[in-house]
Protein backbone atom coordinates (compact mmCIF):
# COMPACT_ATOMS: atom_id res chain seq x y z
CA UNK A 1 0.00 0.00 0.00
CA UNK A 2 2.91 2.33 0.77
CA UNK A 3 4.23 2.00 -2.79
CA UNK A 4 0.76 2.48 -4.30
CA UNK A 5 0.32 5.57 -2.12
CA UNK A 6 3.66 6.98 -3.30
CA UNK A 7 2.71 6.51 -6.96
CA UNK A 8 -0.70 8.14 -6.40
CA UNK A 9 0.95 11.04 -4.55
CA UNK A 10 3.42 11.59 -7.40
CA UNK A 11 0.54 11.53 -9.90
CA UNK A 12 -1.38 14.06 -7.82
CA UNK A 13 1.62 16.40 -7.45
CA UNK A 14 2.34 16.25 -11.19
CA UNK A 15 -1.30 16.87 -12.15
CA UNK A 16 -1.81 19.72 -9.71
CA UNK A 17 1.36 21.41 -10.93
CA UNK A 18 -0.82 22.48 -13.88
CA UNK A 19 -2.88 24.76 -11.63
CA UNK A 20 -4.88 26.50 -14.34
CA UNK A 21 -5.68 23.12 -15.89
CA UNK A 22 -7.07 21.79 -12.62
CA UNK A 23 -9.26 24.85 -12.09
CA UNK A 24 -10.55 24.71 -15.66
CA UNK A 25 -11.21 21.00 -15.44
CA UNK A 26 -13.52 21.41 -12.43
CA UNK A 27 -15.10 24.60 -13.78
CA UNK A 28 -15.99 22.85 -17.04
CA UNK A 29 -17.58 19.99 -15.10
CA UNK A 30 -19.84 22.36 -13.18
CA UNK A 31 -20.69 24.42 -16.25
CA UNK A 32 -21.36 21.21 -18.20
CA UNK A 33 -24.10 20.16 -15.77
CA UNK A 34 -26.20 23.29 -16.44
CA UNK A 35 -27.36 22.47 -20.02
CA UNK A 36 -28.05 18.89 -18.90
CA UNK A 37 -30.33 20.30 -16.23
CA UNK A 38 -32.39 22.34 -18.72
CA UNK A 39 -32.64 19.55 -21.31
CA UNK A 40 -33.67 16.94 -18.73
CA UNK A 41 -36.21 19.34 -17.21
CA UNK A 42 -37.81 19.67 -20.65
CA UNK A 43 -37.95 15.88 -21.05
CA UNK A 44 -38.99 15.09 -17.47
CA UNK A 45 -42.67 14.42 -18.19
CA UNK A 46 -41.87 12.08 -21.10
CA UNK A 47 -39.07 10.20 -19.37
CA UNK A 48 -40.44 9.84 -15.86
CA UNK A 49 -42.36 6.65 -16.74
CA UNK A 50 -39.52 5.28 -18.90
CA UNK A 51 -36.97 5.48 -16.06
CA UNK A 52 -39.31 4.03 -13.45
CA UNK A 53 -37.41 1.65 -11.16
CA UNK A 54 -34.20 3.68 -11.49
CA UNK A 55 -35.39 6.88 -9.84
CA UNK A 56 -38.12 9.30 -10.78
CA UNK A 57 -36.16 12.38 -11.81
CA UNK A 58 -34.60 12.32 -15.28
CA UNK A 59 -31.95 14.92 -14.35
CA UNK A 60 -30.67 12.79 -11.45
CA UNK A 61 -30.84 9.69 -13.69
CA UNK A 62 -28.60 11.35 -16.30
CA UNK A 63 -26.03 12.86 -13.90
CA UNK A 64 -25.54 9.49 -12.23
CA UNK A 65 -24.96 8.00 -15.70
CA UNK A 66 -22.53 10.74 -16.69
CA UNK A 67 -20.57 10.46 -13.42
CA UNK A 68 -20.29 6.69 -13.80
CA UNK A 69 -19.09 7.12 -17.37
CA UNK A 70 -16.35 9.50 -16.15
CA UNK A 71 -15.27 6.83 -13.70
CA UNK A 72 -15.17 3.93 -16.13
CA UNK A 73 -13.36 6.05 -18.70
CA UNK A 74 -10.55 6.44 -16.17
CA UNK A 75 -10.52 2.73 -15.31
CA UNK A 76 -10.33 1.79 -19.01
CA UNK A 77 -7.73 4.29 -20.18
CA UNK A 78 -5.53 5.05 -17.13
CA UNK A 79 -3.27 2.02 -17.42
CA UNK A 80 -2.75 1.84 -21.20
CA UNK A 81 -2.06 5.58 -21.24
CA UNK A 82 0.39 5.32 -18.32
CA UNK A 83 2.15 2.38 -19.99
CA UNK A 84 2.29 4.16 -23.36
CA UNK A 85 3.77 7.31 -21.84
CA UNK A 86 5.99 5.36 -19.46
CA UNK A 87 7.53 3.13 -22.10
CA UNK A 88 8.26 6.09 -24.38
CA UNK A 89 9.99 8.05 -21.60
CA UNK A 90 11.73 5.17 -19.83
CA UNK A 91 9.72 5.60 -16.62
CA UNK A 92 8.32 2.08 -16.81
CA UNK A 93 11.80 0.67 -17.34
CA UNK A 94 13.02 2.56 -14.28
CA UNK A 95 10.09 1.36 -12.18
CA UNK A 96 10.37 -2.25 -13.32
CA UNK A 97 14.03 -2.20 -12.34
CA UNK A 98 13.02 -1.54 -8.70
CA UNK A 99 11.97 -4.38 -6.40
CA UNK A 100 8.28 -3.59 -6.90
CA UNK A 101 5.77 -6.23 -7.91
CA UNK A 102 3.93 -5.74 -11.20
CA UNK A 103 0.42 -5.74 -9.62
CA UNK A 104 1.54 -3.02 -7.16
CA UNK A 105 2.96 -0.99 -10.01
CA UNK A 106 -0.24 -1.30 -12.04
CA UNK A 107 -2.42 -0.37 -9.07
CA UNK A 108 -0.25 2.65 -8.36
CA UNK A 109 -0.16 3.80 -11.97
CA UNK A 110 -3.95 3.57 -12.34
CA UNK A 111 -4.69 4.74 -8.79
CA UNK A 112 -4.38 8.48 -9.24
CA UNK A 113 -6.52 8.63 -12.39
CA UNK A 114 -9.26 6.50 -10.83
CA UNK A 115 -9.30 8.56 -7.62
CA UNK A 116 -9.31 11.78 -9.64
CA UNK A 117 -12.23 10.48 -11.70
CA UNK A 118 -14.08 9.65 -8.46
CA UNK A 119 -13.49 13.21 -7.30
CA UNK A 120 -14.75 14.59 -10.61
CA UNK A 121 -17.82 12.37 -10.45
CA UNK A 122 -18.53 13.60 -6.92
CA UNK A 123 -18.21 17.22 -8.07
CA UNK A 124 -20.74 16.56 -10.86
CA UNK A 125 -23.16 15.02 -8.37
CA UNK A 126 -22.69 17.95 -5.94
CA UNK A 127 -23.28 20.48 -8.71
CA UNK A 128 -26.38 18.55 -9.75
CA UNK A 129 -27.65 18.55 -6.15
CA UNK A 130 -27.26 22.31 -6.02
CA UNK A 131 -29.37 22.50 -9.20
CA UNK A 132 -32.07 20.34 -7.61
CA UNK A 133 -31.19 16.68 -8.32
CA UNK A 134 -32.71 14.34 -5.75
CA UNK A 135 -29.80 12.22 -4.58
CA UNK A 136 -29.84 10.16 -1.38
CA UNK A 137 -26.52 11.44 0.00
CA UNK A 138 -27.11 9.45 3.18
CA UNK A 139 -26.66 6.36 0.97
CA UNK A 140 -23.22 7.38 -0.28
CA UNK A 141 -21.41 4.82 1.88
CA UNK A 142 -23.90 2.12 0.84
CA UNK A 143 -23.07 2.80 -2.80
CA UNK A 144 -19.31 2.46 -2.17
CA UNK A 145 -19.19 -1.35 -2.62
CA UNK A 146 -21.11 -0.97 -5.90
CA UNK A 147 -18.62 1.60 -7.13
CA UNK A 148 -15.75 -0.63 -6.02
CA UNK A 149 -17.18 -3.51 -8.04
CA UNK A 150 -17.77 -1.26 -11.07
CA UNK A 151 -14.10 -0.22 -10.88
CA UNK A 152 -12.91 -3.81 -10.37
CA UNK A 153 -14.99 -5.00 -13.32
CA UNK A 154 -13.44 -2.40 -15.65
CA UNK A 155 -9.81 -2.23 -14.44
CA UNK A 156 -8.96 -5.65 -15.97
CA UNK A 157 -10.05 -4.34 -19.38
CA UNK A 158 -7.50 -1.55 -18.86
CA UNK A 159 -4.97 -4.21 -17.85
CA UNK A 160 -5.62 -6.14 -21.09
CA UNK A 161 -5.16 -2.91 -23.08
CA UNK A 162 -1.96 -2.21 -21.11
CA UNK A 163 -0.75 -5.70 -22.00
CA UNK A 164 -1.37 -4.85 -25.66
CA UNK A 165 0.70 -1.67 -25.23
CA UNK A 166 3.52 -3.66 -23.67
CA UNK A 167 3.58 -6.23 -26.44
CA UNK A 168 2.51 -4.25 -29.51
CA UNK A 169 2.79 -0.57 -28.53
CA UNK A 170 -0.94 0.00 -29.06
CA UNK A 171 -3.87 -0.52 -26.68
CA UNK A 172 -5.92 -1.96 -29.52
CA UNK A 173 -9.65 -1.37 -29.91
CA UNK A 174 -10.81 -2.97 -26.63
CA UNK A 175 -11.07 0.07 -24.30
CA UNK A 176 -12.75 2.14 -27.01
CA UNK A 177 -15.19 -0.68 -27.78
CA UNK A 178 -16.09 -1.17 -24.11
CA UNK A 179 -16.48 2.58 -23.62
CA UNK A 180 -18.71 2.89 -26.66
CA UNK A 181 -20.87 -0.08 -25.66
CA UNK A 182 -21.12 1.27 -22.11
CA UNK A 183 -22.15 4.69 -23.39
CA UNK A 184 -24.86 3.49 -25.76
CA UNK A 185 -25.93 0.17 -24.27
CA UNK A 186 -25.03 0.50 -20.59
CA UNK A 187 -27.98 2.70 -19.63
CA UNK A 188 -26.14 6.00 -19.27
CA UNK A 189 -28.68 8.23 -21.05
CA UNK A 190 -31.72 5.93 -21.11
CA UNK A 191 -32.67 2.73 -19.30
CA UNK A 192 -31.58 -0.48 -21.05
CA UNK A 193 -35.18 -1.68 -21.16
CA UNK A 194 -35.93 0.78 -24.01
CA UNK A 195 -33.19 -0.74 -26.18
CA UNK A 196 -34.62 -2.97 -28.98
CA UNK A 197 -34.58 -6.69 -28.10
CA UNK A 198 -31.82 -7.86 -30.46
CA UNK A 199 -29.40 -5.17 -29.31
CA UNK A 200 -30.42 -5.46 -25.67
CA UNK A 201 -28.73 -8.88 -25.58
CA UNK A 202 -25.42 -7.07 -25.96
CA UNK A 203 -26.21 -4.74 -23.09
CA UNK A 204 -26.51 -7.82 -20.86
CA UNK A 205 -22.77 -8.32 -21.41
CA UNK A 206 -21.87 -4.73 -20.52
CA UNK A 207 -20.78 -4.47 -16.85
CA UNK A 208 -21.95 -0.85 -16.58
CA UNK A 209 -25.56 -2.00 -17.22
CA UNK A 210 -25.55 -3.71 -13.82
CA UNK A 211 -23.45 -1.05 -12.15
CA UNK A 212 -25.77 1.78 -13.13
CA UNK A 213 -28.91 -0.12 -12.17
CA UNK A 214 -27.45 -0.78 -8.73
CA UNK A 215 -26.12 2.76 -8.22
CA UNK A 216 -29.44 4.33 -9.22
CA UNK A 217 -31.49 2.00 -7.05
CA UNK A 218 -29.33 2.89 -4.04
CA UNK A 219 -28.64 6.55 -4.71
CA UNK A 220 -31.90 7.62 -6.38
CA UNK A 221 -34.44 5.28 -4.79
CA UNK A 222 -32.72 4.92 -1.40
CA UNK A 223 -32.79 1.12 -1.50
CA UNK A 224 -30.43 -1.03 0.62
CA UNK A 225 -27.64 -3.19 -0.80
CA UNK A 226 -29.76 -6.33 -0.44
CA UNK A 227 -32.08 -4.91 -3.12
CA UNK A 228 -29.21 -4.92 -5.62
CA UNK A 229 -27.64 -8.25 -4.72
CA UNK A 230 -28.25 -9.64 -8.22
CA UNK A 231 -26.41 -6.73 -9.83
CA UNK A 232 -23.58 -7.02 -7.29
CA UNK A 233 -23.24 -10.73 -8.01
CA UNK A 234 -23.05 -10.19 -11.76
CA UNK A 235 -20.50 -7.38 -11.31
CA UNK A 236 -18.42 -9.62 -9.03
CA UNK A 237 -18.56 -12.34 -11.70
CA UNK A 238 -17.39 -9.89 -14.38
CA UNK A 239 -14.62 -8.68 -12.06
CA UNK A 240 -13.42 -12.22 -11.25
CA UNK A 241 -13.43 -13.54 -14.83
CA UNK A 242 -11.87 -10.38 -16.30
CA UNK A 243 -9.26 -10.23 -13.51
CA UNK A 244 -8.03 -13.70 -14.46
CA UNK A 245 -7.97 -12.82 -18.18
CA UNK A 246 -6.25 -9.49 -17.41
CA UNK A 247 -3.60 -11.07 -15.18
CA UNK A 248 -2.86 -13.83 -17.69
CA UNK A 249 -2.65 -11.41 -20.62
CA UNK A 250 -0.36 -9.05 -18.74
CA UNK A 251 1.94 -11.86 -17.63
CA UNK A 252 2.09 -13.17 -21.20
CA UNK A 253 2.76 -9.66 -22.55
CA UNK A 254 5.50 -9.08 -20.00
CA UNK A 255 7.13 -12.42 -20.87
CA UNK A 256 6.87 -11.61 -24.59
CA UNK A 257 8.23 -8.07 -24.09
CA UNK A 258 11.20 -9.38 -22.08
CA UNK A 259 11.92 -11.99 -24.73
CA UNK A 260 11.43 -9.66 -27.71
CA UNK A 261 13.22 -6.77 -26.01
CA UNK A 262 10.27 -4.38 -26.39
CA UNK A 263 9.82 -3.76 -22.68
CA UNK A 264 12.34 -0.98 -22.60
CA UNK A 265 12.29 0.01 -26.24
CA UNK A 266 11.45 3.62 -26.76
Amino acid sequence: MHKIGALIRAGWLAATSYRFGVVMSFASLIVGVIPVYFVTQALQSTMSTVIAGEGDQFFAFIVVGMSSLTLISATLYALPTALQTGTSTGTIEAMLATPTGVPTLLAGLAGYDVLYALLRATVVLLAATVLGAHLAWDRILTVAPVLALVILAHIPIGVIAAAMVLAFRTPGPLPQLVFMLSTFLGGVYYPTKVIPGAVRVISDFVPLTYGLKAIRKVLLEGKPLTAVSHELLVLAGFAAVLAVIGALSFQAALRYARRAGTLAQY
Binding site: L13, S17, P99, G261
Partner: protein, 355 residues
Protein backbone atom coordinates in the same frame (compact mmCIF):
# COMPACT_ATOMS: atom_id res chain seq x y z
CA UNK B 1 46.02 -9.59 -17.60
CA UNK B 2 44.55 -8.87 -21.01
CA UNK B 3 42.92 -11.68 -22.86
CA UNK B 4 40.67 -12.62 -25.68
CA UNK B 5 37.09 -13.18 -24.58
CA UNK B 6 35.11 -15.94 -26.09
CA UNK B 7 32.62 -18.59 -25.10
CA UNK B 8 33.77 -20.89 -22.41
CA UNK B 9 37.01 -19.08 -21.70
CA UNK B 10 37.46 -17.83 -18.16
CA UNK B 11 39.18 -14.52 -18.38
CA UNK B 12 39.36 -12.99 -15.00
CA UNK B 13 41.81 -13.96 -12.35
CA UNK B 14 39.24 -13.01 -9.73
CA UNK B 15 38.06 -15.60 -7.29
CA UNK B 16 34.43 -16.68 -7.12
CA UNK B 17 33.87 -14.99 -3.76
CA UNK B 18 34.83 -11.54 -5.09
CA UNK B 19 32.93 -11.81 -8.37
CA UNK B 20 30.04 -9.35 -8.62
CA UNK B 21 28.98 -10.22 -12.18
CA UNK B 22 29.64 -13.51 -13.86
CA UNK B 23 28.62 -14.04 -17.48
CA UNK B 24 28.89 -17.39 -19.21
CA UNK B 25 28.04 -17.83 -22.88
CA UNK B 26 25.36 -15.13 -22.76
CA UNK B 27 23.55 -14.86 -26.09
CA UNK B 28 20.55 -12.97 -27.39
CA UNK B 29 18.95 -12.63 -30.81
CA UNK B 30 16.04 -10.45 -31.82
CA UNK B 31 13.52 -11.07 -34.58
CA UNK B 32 14.36 -9.05 -37.66
CA UNK B 33 11.76 -6.43 -38.46
CA UNK B 34 10.28 -7.09 -41.89
CA UNK B 35 8.49 -4.81 -44.33
CA UNK B 36 4.81 -5.24 -45.25
CA UNK B 37 5.63 -6.77 -48.64
CA UNK B 38 7.92 -9.38 -47.09
CA UNK B 39 5.35 -10.05 -44.35
CA UNK B 40 2.60 -10.73 -46.89
CA UNK B 41 4.85 -12.80 -49.16
CA UNK B 42 6.24 -15.03 -46.42
CA UNK B 43 4.00 -14.58 -43.34
CA UNK B 44 5.45 -17.48 -41.32
CA UNK B 45 9.08 -16.90 -42.17
CA UNK B 46 11.16 -15.45 -39.40
CA UNK B 47 14.68 -14.16 -39.34
CA UNK B 48 16.74 -13.26 -36.31
CA UNK B 49 19.53 -10.78 -35.79
CA UNK B 50 22.12 -11.76 -33.17
CA UNK B 51 22.59 -8.97 -30.63
CA UNK B 52 24.96 -10.77 -28.25
CA UNK B 53 27.02 -13.86 -28.95
CA UNK B 54 28.39 -16.06 -26.21
CA UNK B 55 29.63 -13.31 -23.93
CA UNK B 56 31.76 -14.67 -21.13
CA UNK B 57 33.33 -12.45 -18.54
CA UNK B 58 33.78 -11.91 -14.79
CA UNK B 59 33.63 -8.55 -13.08
CA UNK B 60 35.05 -8.24 -9.60
CA UNK B 61 33.31 -6.57 -6.65
CA UNK B 62 34.14 -2.89 -6.42
CA UNK B 63 35.53 -2.81 -9.95
CA UNK B 64 34.85 0.05 -12.39
CA UNK B 65 34.37 -1.86 -15.63
CA UNK B 66 34.01 -0.17 -19.00
CA UNK B 67 32.19 -1.64 -21.95
CA UNK B 68 33.28 -0.10 -25.22
CA UNK B 69 31.58 -0.61 -28.52
CA UNK B 70 30.01 1.12 -31.49
CA UNK B 71 26.26 1.53 -31.94
CA UNK B 72 24.63 -1.87 -32.20
CA UNK B 73 27.58 -3.66 -30.60
CA UNK B 74 25.27 -5.09 -27.93
CA UNK B 75 26.12 -2.91 -24.91
CA UNK B 76 22.55 -1.87 -24.15
CA UNK B 77 21.20 -5.36 -24.76
CA UNK B 78 23.73 -6.75 -22.29
CA UNK B 79 22.78 -4.14 -19.70
CA UNK B 80 19.07 -4.80 -20.16
CA UNK B 81 19.67 -8.49 -19.65
CA UNK B 82 21.58 -7.81 -16.45
CA UNK B 83 18.74 -5.54 -15.29
CA UNK B 84 16.23 -8.37 -15.99
CA UNK B 85 14.45 -6.27 -18.63
CA UNK B 86 15.42 -8.63 -21.46
CA UNK B 87 15.53 -12.43 -21.14
CA UNK B 88 18.70 -14.12 -22.43
CA UNK B 89 18.29 -16.83 -25.08
CA UNK B 90 21.26 -18.84 -23.87
CA UNK B 91 23.92 -18.72 -21.21
CA UNK B 92 23.87 -17.49 -17.65
CA UNK B 93 24.33 -14.17 -15.91
CA UNK B 94 24.93 -14.32 -12.17
CA UNK B 95 24.75 -11.05 -10.23
CA UNK B 96 26.12 -11.28 -6.68
CA UNK B 97 25.17 -14.94 -6.63
CA UNK B 98 21.68 -14.54 -8.17
CA UNK B 99 20.73 -15.79 -11.63
CA UNK B 100 18.97 -13.16 -13.76
CA UNK B 101 16.68 -15.80 -15.25
CA UNK B 102 15.85 -17.86 -12.17
CA UNK B 103 15.87 -15.17 -9.54
CA UNK B 104 15.11 -11.79 -11.15
CA UNK B 105 13.53 -10.35 -7.97
CA UNK B 106 16.74 -10.87 -6.00
CA UNK B 107 18.81 -9.47 -8.88
CA UNK B 108 16.72 -6.28 -8.79
CA UNK B 109 17.61 -5.91 -5.10
CA UNK B 110 21.35 -5.90 -5.75
CA UNK B 111 21.66 -4.34 -9.20
CA UNK B 112 20.29 -1.07 -10.46
CA UNK B 113 20.51 0.44 -13.93
CA UNK B 114 20.82 4.19 -14.26
CA UNK B 115 18.21 4.94 -16.92
CA UNK B 116 20.11 7.68 -18.69
CA UNK B 117 17.03 9.14 -20.37
CA UNK B 118 16.20 12.35 -18.53
CA UNK B 119 12.56 11.91 -19.50
CA UNK B 120 12.33 8.99 -17.11
CA UNK B 121 12.28 11.58 -14.33
CA UNK B 122 8.98 13.21 -13.48
CA UNK B 123 9.67 16.76 -14.69
CA UNK B 124 6.55 18.28 -13.14
CA UNK B 125 7.55 17.50 -9.58
CA UNK B 126 10.57 18.45 -7.50
CA UNK B 127 13.84 16.54 -7.19
CA UNK B 128 12.91 15.62 -3.63
CA UNK B 129 9.50 14.25 -4.69
CA UNK B 130 11.12 12.24 -7.49
CA UNK B 131 13.46 10.77 -4.91
CA UNK B 132 10.65 10.11 -2.41
CA UNK B 133 8.72 8.16 -5.04
CA UNK B 134 11.66 5.90 -5.84
CA UNK B 135 12.57 5.58 -2.16
CA UNK B 136 9.10 4.11 -1.64
CA UNK B 137 9.43 1.84 -4.70
CA UNK B 138 12.71 0.60 -3.23
CA UNK B 139 10.96 -0.20 0.04
CA UNK B 140 12.33 2.71 2.12
CA UNK B 141 9.91 4.28 4.58
CA UNK B 142 9.49 7.13 7.03
CA UNK B 143 12.45 8.92 8.57
CA UNK B 144 14.92 6.46 7.08
CA UNK B 145 13.65 7.25 3.58
CA UNK B 146 13.85 11.02 4.19
CA UNK B 147 17.40 10.75 5.56
CA UNK B 148 18.52 8.65 2.62
CA UNK B 149 16.93 11.06 0.12
CA UNK B 150 18.65 14.05 1.76
CA UNK B 151 21.97 12.22 1.98
CA UNK B 152 21.94 11.29 -1.72
CA UNK B 153 20.81 14.72 -2.85
CA UNK B 154 23.78 16.11 -0.90
CA UNK B 155 26.07 13.55 -2.54
CA UNK B 156 25.03 14.64 -6.03
CA UNK B 157 25.24 18.30 -5.00
CA UNK B 158 21.60 19.12 -5.58
CA UNK B 159 20.90 20.38 -2.06
CA UNK B 160 20.10 23.88 -3.29
CA UNK B 161 17.64 22.60 -5.89
CA UNK B 162 15.77 19.90 -3.97
CA UNK B 163 12.42 21.67 -4.02
CA UNK B 164 12.64 22.96 -7.57
CA UNK B 165 10.72 21.34 -10.40
CA UNK B 166 13.00 19.01 -12.38
CA UNK B 167 11.80 20.71 -15.59
CA UNK B 168 14.06 23.64 -14.71
CA UNK B 169 17.19 21.52 -14.22
CA UNK B 170 20.17 21.48 -16.59
CA UNK B 171 21.12 18.19 -18.27
CA UNK B 172 23.99 17.73 -15.83
CA UNK B 173 21.68 18.18 -12.83
CA UNK B 174 19.19 15.70 -14.30
CA UNK B 175 21.95 13.13 -14.87
CA UNK B 176 23.11 13.55 -11.27
CA UNK B 177 19.53 13.16 -10.06
CA UNK B 178 19.18 9.96 -12.14
CA UNK B 179 22.26 8.54 -10.43
CA UNK B 180 20.99 9.59 -6.99
CA UNK B 181 17.63 7.99 -7.76
CA UNK B 182 19.39 4.74 -8.64
CA UNK B 183 21.58 4.83 -5.53
CA UNK B 184 18.43 4.85 -3.37
CA UNK B 185 18.32 1.11 -3.89
CA UNK B 186 21.78 0.89 -2.29
CA UNK B 187 22.85 -1.35 -5.18
CA UNK B 188 25.95 -3.48 -5.11
CA UNK B 189 26.15 -3.25 -8.89
CA UNK B 190 25.39 -0.12 -10.88
CA UNK B 191 24.85 -0.03 -14.65
CA UNK B 192 25.57 3.22 -16.48
CA UNK B 193 24.66 3.36 -20.16
CA UNK B 194 26.39 6.31 -21.84
CA UNK B 195 25.76 8.66 -18.91
CA UNK B 196 27.62 11.62 -20.40
CA UNK B 197 26.15 11.56 -23.90
CA UNK B 198 23.99 14.64 -23.40
CA UNK B 199 26.49 16.63 -21.35
CA UNK B 200 28.80 19.41 -22.48
CA UNK B 201 32.55 18.66 -22.04
CA UNK B 202 32.85 20.52 -18.72
CA UNK B 203 29.77 18.89 -17.19
CA UNK B 204 30.93 15.52 -18.54
CA UNK B 205 34.30 15.91 -16.85
CA UNK B 206 32.68 16.87 -13.52
CA UNK B 207 30.24 14.00 -13.85
CA UNK B 208 33.05 11.50 -14.49
CA UNK B 209 34.87 12.70 -11.40
CA UNK B 210 31.66 12.29 -9.41
CA UNK B 211 31.21 8.73 -10.74
CA UNK B 212 34.75 7.72 -9.92
CA UNK B 213 35.19 9.40 -6.55
CA UNK B 214 31.72 9.36 -5.03
CA UNK B 215 29.91 6.46 -6.61
CA UNK B 216 32.68 3.93 -7.08
CA UNK B 217 35.22 4.76 -4.38
CA UNK B 218 33.13 6.29 -1.58
CA UNK B 219 29.96 4.26 -2.21
CA UNK B 220 31.84 1.04 -3.00
CA UNK B 221 29.64 0.11 -5.96
CA UNK B 222 30.72 -2.23 -8.72
CA UNK B 223 30.14 -0.04 -11.75
CA UNK B 224 29.60 -1.19 -15.33
CA UNK B 225 29.88 1.71 -17.75
CA UNK B 226 28.86 1.40 -21.39
CA UNK B 227 30.34 4.12 -23.52
CA UNK B 228 31.25 5.18 -27.03
CA UNK B 229 34.20 7.15 -25.78
CA UNK B 230 37.50 5.34 -25.55
CA UNK B 231 38.94 8.22 -23.56
CA UNK B 232 36.07 8.08 -21.07
CA UNK B 233 36.59 4.35 -20.58
CA UNK B 234 40.36 4.70 -20.18
CA UNK B 235 39.93 7.67 -17.86
CA UNK B 236 37.46 5.99 -15.49
CA UNK B 237 37.74 2.25 -15.62
CA UNK B 238 39.92 -0.36 -13.96
CA UNK B 239 39.27 -2.79 -16.79
CA UNK B 240 37.69 -2.44 -20.19
CA UNK B 241 35.82 -4.90 -22.37
CA UNK B 242 35.41 -4.28 -26.08
CA UNK B 243 32.18 -5.44 -27.71
CA UNK B 244 32.02 -5.82 -31.46
CA UNK B 245 28.96 -7.12 -33.30
CA UNK B 246 27.72 -8.81 -30.14
CA UNK B 247 31.02 -10.47 -29.28
CA UNK B 248 33.25 -9.49 -26.39
CA UNK B 249 36.48 -9.43 -28.35
CA UNK B 250 38.81 -8.29 -25.59
CA UNK B 251 38.86 -7.72 -21.86
CA UNK B 252 41.79 -6.28 -20.05
CA UNK B 253 43.22 -3.90 -17.50
CA UNK B 254 42.74 -0.39 -18.82
CA UNK B 255 46.43 0.49 -18.59
CA UNK B 256 47.44 -2.64 -20.44
CA UNK B 257 44.80 -2.37 -23.14
CA UNK B 258 45.54 1.30 -23.56
CA UNK B 259 49.27 0.68 -23.95
CA UNK B 260 48.56 -1.89 -26.62
CA UNK B 261 45.90 -0.19 -28.63
CA UNK B 262 45.75 3.43 -27.54
CA UNK B 263 49.02 4.87 -26.38
CA UNK B 264 51.03 4.22 -29.51
CA UNK B 265 49.83 7.06 -31.75
CA UNK B 266 51.53 10.42 -31.58
CA UNK B 267 51.77 13.68 -33.48
CA UNK B 268 55.16 15.36 -33.73
CA UNK B 269 55.77 18.91 -35.00
CA UNK B 270 59.14 19.10 -36.78
CA UNK B 271 60.83 22.07 -38.49
CA UNK B 272 61.72 20.52 -41.84
CA UNK B 273 60.11 19.66 -45.12
CA UNK B 274 58.01 16.50 -45.28
CA UNK B 275 60.52 13.99 -46.73
CA UNK B 276 63.31 15.21 -44.40
CA UNK B 277 61.04 14.88 -41.38
CA UNK B 278 60.10 11.33 -42.35
CA UNK B 279 63.76 10.41 -42.90
CA UNK B 280 64.70 11.87 -39.50
CA UNK B 281 61.97 9.85 -37.80
CA UNK B 282 62.99 6.67 -39.62
CA UNK B 283 66.57 7.26 -38.53
CA UNK B 284 65.57 7.06 -34.86
CA UNK B 285 64.60 3.37 -35.46
CA UNK B 286 61.93 3.82 -32.81
CA UNK B 287 59.03 4.88 -34.97
CA UNK B 288 56.47 2.46 -36.32
CA UNK B 289 54.09 3.32 -39.14
CA UNK B 290 54.63 6.94 -40.25
CA UNK B 291 51.80 8.77 -41.99
CA UNK B 292 52.20 11.45 -44.66
CA UNK B 293 53.33 14.74 -43.09
CA UNK B 294 50.95 17.70 -43.09
CA UNK B 295 52.36 21.16 -43.76
CA UNK B 296 52.11 23.70 -40.95
CA UNK B 297 52.95 27.46 -41.16
CA UNK B 298 56.55 28.78 -41.02
CA UNK B 299 58.32 25.70 -42.42
CA UNK B 300 56.95 23.19 -39.89
CA UNK B 301 55.28 19.86 -40.59
CA UNK B 302 53.08 17.69 -38.42
CA UNK B 303 53.72 13.97 -38.66
CA UNK B 304 51.33 11.37 -37.21
CA UNK B 305 53.08 8.14 -36.37
CA UNK B 306 53.05 5.05 -34.21
CA UNK B 307 55.63 4.77 -31.45
CA UNK B 308 55.48 1.27 -29.96
CA UNK B 309 56.39 1.38 -26.29
CA UNK B 310 54.18 4.21 -25.12
CA UNK B 311 55.28 7.43 -23.48
CA UNK B 312 58.88 6.37 -22.70
CA UNK B 313 59.52 5.44 -26.30
CA UNK B 314 57.98 8.77 -27.40
CA UNK B 315 60.48 10.59 -25.14
CA UNK B 316 63.30 8.58 -26.72
CA UNK B 317 62.15 9.61 -30.21
CA UNK B 318 62.17 13.29 -29.25
CA UNK B 319 65.61 12.92 -27.68
CA UNK B 320 66.93 11.13 -30.78
CA UNK B 321 65.59 13.89 -33.02
CA UNK B 322 67.22 16.52 -30.80
CA UNK B 323 70.56 14.67 -30.99
CA UNK B 324 70.23 14.73 -34.79
CA UNK B 325 69.70 18.54 -34.61
CA UNK B 326 66.09 18.24 -35.76
CA UNK B 327 63.95 20.92 -34.11
CA UNK B 328 60.85 19.52 -32.39
CA UNK B 329 58.15 21.91 -31.19
CA UNK B 330 55.61 19.51 -29.78
CA UNK B 331 54.91 15.81 -29.35
CA UNK B 332 51.53 14.66 -28.14
CA UNK B 333 49.54 11.47 -27.90
CA UNK B 334 46.64 11.36 -30.30
CA UNK B 335 43.21 10.90 -28.78
CA UNK B 336 41.98 7.53 -29.88
CA UNK B 337 38.67 7.42 -31.69
CA UNK B 338 36.36 4.50 -31.07
CA UNK B 339 36.78 3.45 -34.69
CA UNK B 340 40.59 3.34 -34.28
CA UNK B 341 40.27 1.48 -31.02
CA UNK B 342 37.93 -1.12 -32.50
CA UNK B 343 40.13 -1.53 -35.54
CA UNK B 344 43.22 -2.00 -33.41
CA UNK B 345 41.52 -4.29 -30.91
CA UNK B 346 40.15 -6.44 -33.71
CA UNK B 347 43.54 -6.49 -35.40
CA UNK B 348 45.30 -7.38 -32.17
CA UNK B 349 42.91 -9.83 -30.52
CA UNK B 350 40.47 -11.18 -33.02
CA UNK B 351 41.62 -10.80 -36.60
CA UNK B 352 38.82 -13.13 -37.76
CA UNK B 353 36.02 -11.51 -35.74
CA UNK B 354 34.45 -9.92 -38.79
CA UNK B 355 34.12 -13.24 -40.49
Amino acid sequence: MTSVASAGVTLSSSTASSTAVSLRGLSKSFAKRRGWRELIRRPFHSEVVPALREVTCDIRSGEFFGLLGANGAGKTTLFKMLATLVTPDEGTAIICGHDVRRDPDRVRRVLAPVIADERSLNWRISARENMRLYAALNGLRGAHASERVDELLRLVELTDAVDRQVAGFSSGMKQRLLVARTLLANPQVLLLDEPTRSLDPLSARAFRRFLREDVAIRHGCTVLLATHSADEAFDLCDRVGVLHKGRLIAVGATSELASIVAEERYSIWIQADGPTAVKALEATRLAGRIESPADEPNGWVRVDLEIPGGINAAADVVAALARANVRVARCERLALSLADLLERTLHHYAPNANA
